[in-house]
Symmetry: C2
Subunit: 151 residues, 2 copies
DNA sequence: CATGAAATTATGATCAA
DNA sequence: TTGATCATAATTTCATG
């Protein structure tokens, strides 16, 4: 991927509503050239989608947790992601190496709702759960710097 | 928060570039009424920002991991988030309950880069690390359904 | 990749409920 | 306070070189 594309992706990752006009100014390209590149990045799947990032507190989902799951029957087919997909409280599902098989990130209104969700998860996927409660989130959804990568 | 606002937030969380015209059509309001509400949601911080969601594989960061950290000196002031903020490979930092104090989510190009990053984390924050490698991600960045909450 | 024109959208003032 | 209508500015989008 070219340098200009990395620049465009970084800018849009930081401000998903930046106008083509502004992108053009920032990159030194014409509006239509940027437009073309963005469309290509979308088509290639480099840019997956655009999203508004919301304040989960403000929206009634103040409790975040990580739920690690482990199959109760290790010989059963491992289709936990599909079995859990309908639970919209689950924001993310990562297959991981280690003792447990998946890490889920969940958002709920209250401890009660978390308890209920855990029951649903266990029932739907036939797994044992281990839950880590998030107390606060100093930062989240940060964007990598794709230009001049200093880790 | 009103029902229409929940609707607007949900729509924008799913498509951050949806036009006011489309939002108006979906909500049954006029364009300017939606415009007003979106601006208010932004001002109140319900909508924090907008972002393009990128394909980390396509962008040269195919390796994701969760890094749990624990202070080596528990009596030292706990300012790990600030000490780690400059490491742009860290996408998120959550303070958590349990044996460890923070969970970090990191994105790097390679195992080598991960090793280097872990050294930097340990040095910068004076912590011990425990790393869980992500093998694959069935889904991520999903949006809660704020209307008619079925968890 | 740039230019320029046409279509669409964003924005704010004003008025009404 | 909230929403509708309207006018204007800005942006998106596309054809062409």
């Amino acid at each position: 991927m070219e340098d200009i594309d990395r620049r465009i992706v970084t800018l849009l990752a930081r401000d998903g509503r930046m106008s083509f006009t502004d992108l053009a100014r920032e990159t030194g390209l014409s509006v239509s050239a940027v437009h073309q590149r963005v469309r290509r990045l979308e088509k290639r799947g480099v840019i997956r989608s655009y999203a508004a990032l919301i304040d989960h507190d403000a929206v009634g989902l103040p409790l975040t947790a990580f739920v690690s799951i482990k199959p109760i029957d290790p010989s059963a087919p491992d289709d936990a992601p599909e079995r859990l997909e309908h639970l919209t409280a689950i924001e993310a599902c990562h297959s991981v190496a280690g003792d447990e098989s998946y890490i889920l990130k969940v958002r709920v209104p209250s401890p009660n709702a978390l308890e209920l969700l855990l029951q649903q998860i266990r029932a739907a996927a036939n797994v044992a759960t281990r839950t880590t409660i998030v107390l606060s989130t100093p930062y989240e959804y940060r964007t990598p710097d794709l230009t001049g990568d200093a880790s």
